[in-house]
Symmetry: C2
Subunit: 338 residues, 2 copies
DNA sequence: GTCTGGCACTCGGACGCGCAGAGTGCCAGG
DNA sequence: CCTGGCACTCTGCGCGTCCGAGTGCCAGAC
């Protein structure tokens, strides 16, 4: 459709605009990139690109800026992912290795991503759905009160209080604890419900009510905790481009506080690799002038959660994608080790 | 020192400036407040107030705005705390009562504070130092690997992995668990160290190394977790006054991301009641044009953590103080109930 | 003494104007 | 199909002007 040269022109426009943050004209283009043609020719190409909706002019007789569609083409066809340099990789690894627990891993990841990309970083806590159970512990706090503690293979701990319908003896409790663990330890969360459904039958009638209560609390925990948590950082980077988006920064900050919105945002990206959502491709209105670069990460080969950055549509896509991908890879390693 | 009327003039200036966000002149003052004197007289008073450093002019022949010193006097002497209205109180209570666990209480508190004050809200998680131990649990994950789980009276759960110097049997583990709990359950964190110091002596020689390791991990957890966590929200409110602070919003956002800074900020306020730190009274440079209103809250009579808001020095102090105080009170109630 | 009205003065912000520069679209010619 | 040239159109900037709000000060009134 578009000739090779026109694609090159588009690429040059995107690169220059990202660099200078100013609309770019035909003359500047021929000077900074050796396209081998004159400004007039480039003007014709630009007119064609504008016709197709890849670029636009803020006003007559100004340079052109890429549209969302232009960025999309750039990301899909014109630019690769810029890999991190070895020193950068080493720095990432070193920084993440200092983490002491899961919270710390997530916190460090956020800081790292924000620093590397100079944008707002978002990291989702490893999801429970795809995790496995390491251990379930039951503690008797009072005759009819049990505390349920769930420990996952990613190091996450969840606890719930259970009020039992009837007093529950220590021996029954120990019995339940043992049976429960032998069935679910090492298993995936999604498999737990059917693994425990017949468990009450193994107990005396008077204990069955309590056992059922404990089990349903456990199942609730699995579901509830899928309202997954996340951590964000680097919001100060928003001010870097606030000078021309003074009105836009507010809705972005608001969107970032709505965890639900962010989770949906990350969740939408089904691609196994790095996903980029540009401008209006983001469902949420406040994020219509931002792009989201996200990727899944996980302790094994499988993704257990997502992380990414939010920035202006005018961002360095290759570099950002490289940073996001690299960080995800190393976080995965760290999680696998611990 | 300052005559009664001059204080009234200062009060009027602060109120008007907070309302209009514009420097206030003598004429406007006499019109909006019935001071019973003419603008000329007010001008003399303003000159005196400026002489004393309570107000300043942005430039010659503009109205006056309060200085930090002026706000200080206003807060200390001229304004009370504006109590919440009964409907507001009910709304606060209802909103907080829906919380399902500690994280949720803190999250809701942040949202609530941000909404009520229309400013940035900061809530510190209940501190462990003043909490008591509800239960300590030990789980054997491998022959020489133990998981330590600590449960506090505020519902917080901390876990640590312990690598033992020697294999540790289930019976020894149960023994340690029982002894440990009988000594520390219900006790304050600060008392734990001396309560367990002679515990290794009760065990066989070959287990003493492991017992010591477990205990020192427990003590570490107490100390480490005093690097307390906090949650912030309502940063979008910063943009409300960004139009005249476009350069100031960035350092504020940066400061808000530095949890250490915030913790120090909250920690400095020793006053048992609501504490207000105005402008340059805040040690951190990025917060020199903001005020911090904070107060301790706790489940009993005693404060276990702090919460507060960060906003422009030009804020509604009585209203903000009232909201902060009310929220702290109700959070305390909620924590006491759970 | 203290307050008041009057008056001259000083700024900052808004408005209008003109200019320069960058960039465009189009056209005729290679 | 590319190129150089040309007329056109914007925006941004600098400058001068004007207006109004607000001040400080002073002489007179209570």
């Amino acid at each position: 459709m578009l000739s090779e040269r026109r694609l090159q022109v588009l690429r040059a426009i995107v690169q220059d605009y990202v660099g200078t943050e100013e609309p770019v004209g035909s003359k500047a283009l021929t000077e900074r990139h050796n396209l081998g043609v004159s400004p007039a020719t480039v003007r014709n190409d630009m007119a064609a690109l504008e016709e197709e909706g890849y670029i636009a002019q803020p006003h007559t007789s100004a340079g052109r800026i890429p549209t969302d569609k232009g960025y999309r083409l750039f990301v899909d066809k014109l630019a690769g992912v810029k890999p991190m340099t070895p020193p950068e990789r080493r720095a990432i690894q070193n920084f993440l290795e200092g983490a002491v627990d899961l919270d710390d891993v997530v916190a460090r990841t956020v800081r790292l991503l924000a620093q590397l990309t100079r944008q707002v970083a978002v990291v989702q806590y490893p999801s429970l759905t795809r995790s496995t159970v390491r251990h379930v512990e039951l503690l008797s706090l009072a005759p009819a009160r049990v505390m349920l503690v769930l420990i996952t293979d990613t190091g996450r701990v969840e606890q719930r209080m259970v009020d039992c319908p009837a007093p529950f003896g220590e021996t029954s409790l120990a019995d339940l604890r043992a049976r429960l663990n032998s069935r679910v330890a090492g298993r995936r969360f999604t498999d737990v419900p059917k693994l425990v459904e017949d468990l009450p039958e193994a107990f005396e009638v008077e204990d069955r009510g309590t056992v059922s209560t404990v089990l349903s609390t456990l199942l609730e925990t699995l579901v509830e905790e899928n309202e997954e948590r996340l951590m964000i950082g680097g919001t100060a980077n928003l001010t870097r481009f606030a000078h021309d988006f003074p009105l836009t920064i507010r809705p972005v900050l608001e969107a970032l506080e709505e965890q639900v919105v962010l989770l949906k945002l990350l969740g939408e990206a089904k691609d196994p690799g790095v996903t980029v959502r540009i401008g209006h491709e983001n469902a949420h209105e406040g994020l219509n002038s931002t792009s989201v670069v996200s990727v899944g990460y996980g302790s094994g080969g499988e993704a257990v959660a997502k992380l990414g950055v939010v920035g202006p549509t005018r961002m360095d896509y290759p570099g950002t994608m490289g940073a996001v991908r690299a960080v995800a890879r190393y976080v995965g390693q760290i999680l696998a080790e611990s």
